[in-house]
């Protein structure tokens, strides 16, 4: 017989809250990428100003998790859930910070001569957004297959990041006045690549939450290439 206690209602509230926080982070990453693609300074500013809300949510969720650990002494799946949520909300907060960094790149580019954003960078932004959405979908549904699939896609993002570095080095070498813009694009690639890393951290927590297995630092699932060290 299943009974829903007030404890489990509070756990559901924590889950709702972290999904709401993830929604804000997704929006923030999306807007930061849009701001860069469209040279939209006001959107970039909105991303930077909106980050405070994400930070406040992280603190609130973390506090609630610690209170539940202290007062309810949860075990098994409940313990794994709270432990995973504490980490996931820290990863989400860092993803929000990367969106802020990306928005700052837009602001910097705004002051320079207009330049088309490299297609590789737009592709990275697209992939980073998909990974952000998928890791939280995997969390919401307890979908280990989706989490594992996402871990494989991080290499695509790393490869694109390497690609943008090479492109920009060539571009900058062609003309000195392109250096500032080239550096901003390289940094933007780095921020997006970091968002992918955080999404993978979340995917690893999903595997722990569902199966109780720690896969961090164990390498990739069978048949998937091992990560390589990035260029920066």
């Amino acid at each position: 017989m299943n009974t829903i206690s007030s404890f489990h209602r509070q756990m559901q509230q924590v889950k709702d809250d972290i999904l709401a926080m993830a929604g804000l982070v997704e929006q923030s990453i999306h807007d930061a990428a849009e701001a860069m693609a469209r040279r939209d300074a006001s959107l970039a500013l909105a991303v930077i100003q909106g980050d405070r809300r994400i930070d406040v949510m992280q603190n609130g969720i973390e506090e609630r998790c610690i209170a539940l650990l202290a007062t309810q002494q949860p075990v098994a799946v409940d313990l794994r859930f709270l432990s995973a949520v504490i980490k996931i909300c820290a990863y989400l907060e860092r993803m929000g910070d990367q969106a802020v960094n990306l928005a700052q790149r837009s602001q910097a580019l705004e002051e320079l001569l207009p330049t088309e954003v490299p297609a590789t960078l737009l592709e990275m932004a697209q992939l980073a957004q998909e990974m952000t959405r998928d890791c939280m979908d995997a969390f919401a549904a307890g979908d280990v297959a989706l989490a594992n699939a996402l871990l494989g896609r991080d290499d695509d993002l790393d490869n694109l990041n390497r690609h943008i570095l090479e492109e920009m080095v060539q571009w900058m070498a062609s003309e000195n006045r392109l250096v500032r813009r080239g550096v901003e694009f390289i940094l933007a690639g780095r921020h997006l690549e970091r968002i992918g890393d955080e999404a993978c951290n979340i995917a690893e927590e999903v595997v722990y939450l569902v199966e109780g297995r720690v896969i961090r630092h164990l390498g990739r699932p069978e048949g998937q290439p091992q990560p390589s060290v990035g260029p920066l």
């Binding site: 017989m1 299943n2 404890f7 098994a76 799946v77 313990l79 794994r80």
Partner: protein, 255 residues
């Protein structure tokens, strides 16, 4: 046969009946030596019945029947010719409510050994002192040994009862919810004591307090409706149990 150096008790295909009602179904469980094993499960799941089978206490209840085997150091406790009194000496028991005798503190501890023929006063004194020390109550009672045990607090009485069990020099201590009648401070002292006791004894503890099982035991066995659902290292049971029933019980998802 079990490796007696690792497992002190082994139940094999153990069934138990109260009249027509089967209270335990085909229990197979090995209890590791010098470890604390916790038995958990909802009321009526059979955990206390199982505990009492380990020192033949259930046969004091009329109309009950056992089949299967319980090996203690390789010897079947239910084989013909086994003396239940000797079984209960080697496998001691501590009950839910402290039940000191209405005697002096000293005589509570000395009672069992005297009954078993220890007459030498020096030997009795040493046994009383070592038992009270092992039960972590010596410092509190050493100056009041002739006083009545009934004047002690509940927590002290329970530790005295543990000392009384230890004085019989058992190998195994069975504890049936030993802290359910105690306040949190007395409970914490008993829990610390249980962790100490495993150096010299094997402890099997029935508890309704899941956090207590998590705190004191090395192995946890989950009983449900007369079945042993799952047994494993306590850390595993409380972080990632294998069986859904276990998970539902320890996370409070069933009533």
């Amino acid at each position: 046969m079990a490796d007696t150096s690792t497992f002190v008790i082994e139940a094999r295909d153990l069934n138990f009946y109260y009249g027509q009602v089967q209270a335990l179904n085909q229990i197979n469980l090995q209890v590791a030596r010098n470890q604390v094993t916790a038995l958990i499960g909802p009321s009526g799941c059979g955990k206390s019945t199982f505990l009492r089978l380990l020192n033949r206490m259930n046969e004091l209840i009329p109309g009950t029947r056992v089949d299967g085997q319980v090996f203690f150091d390789g010897q079947d406790l239910y084989a013909p010719g086994v003396d239940p009194t000797e079984v209960r000496r080697r496998i001691g028991m501590v009950f839910q409510k402290p039940n000191p005798f209405p005697k002096s503190i000293y005589n509570n501890v000395a009672y069992g050994p005297r009954l078993h023929g220890v007459r030498d006063q020096g030997q009795l004194d040493r046994l009383v002192e070592s038992s009270l020390k092992a039960a972590a109550i010596w410092d509190e009672v050493k100056d009041i040994l002739p006083q009545s045990a009934l004047g002690l607090s509940g927590g002290q009485q329970q530790r005295l009862c543990i000392a009384r069990a230890i004085a019989m020099q058992p190998e195994v201590l069975l504890m049936d919810e030993p802290t359910s009648a105690l306040d949190p401070i007395a409970t914490a002292r008993i829990e610390e004591l249980v962790k100490e006791l495993k150096k010299n004894f094997t402890v099997i503890i029935v508890t309704h307090n899941m956090q207590q099982a998590a705190r004191v035991s090395d192995t946890t066995a989950f009983f449900y409706m007369g079945n042993l659902v799952e047994v494993g290292p306590t850390e595993t049971i409380f972080t990632r149990p294998a069986k859904e029933q276990t998970e539902h019980y320890i996370t409070g998802r069933f009533g």
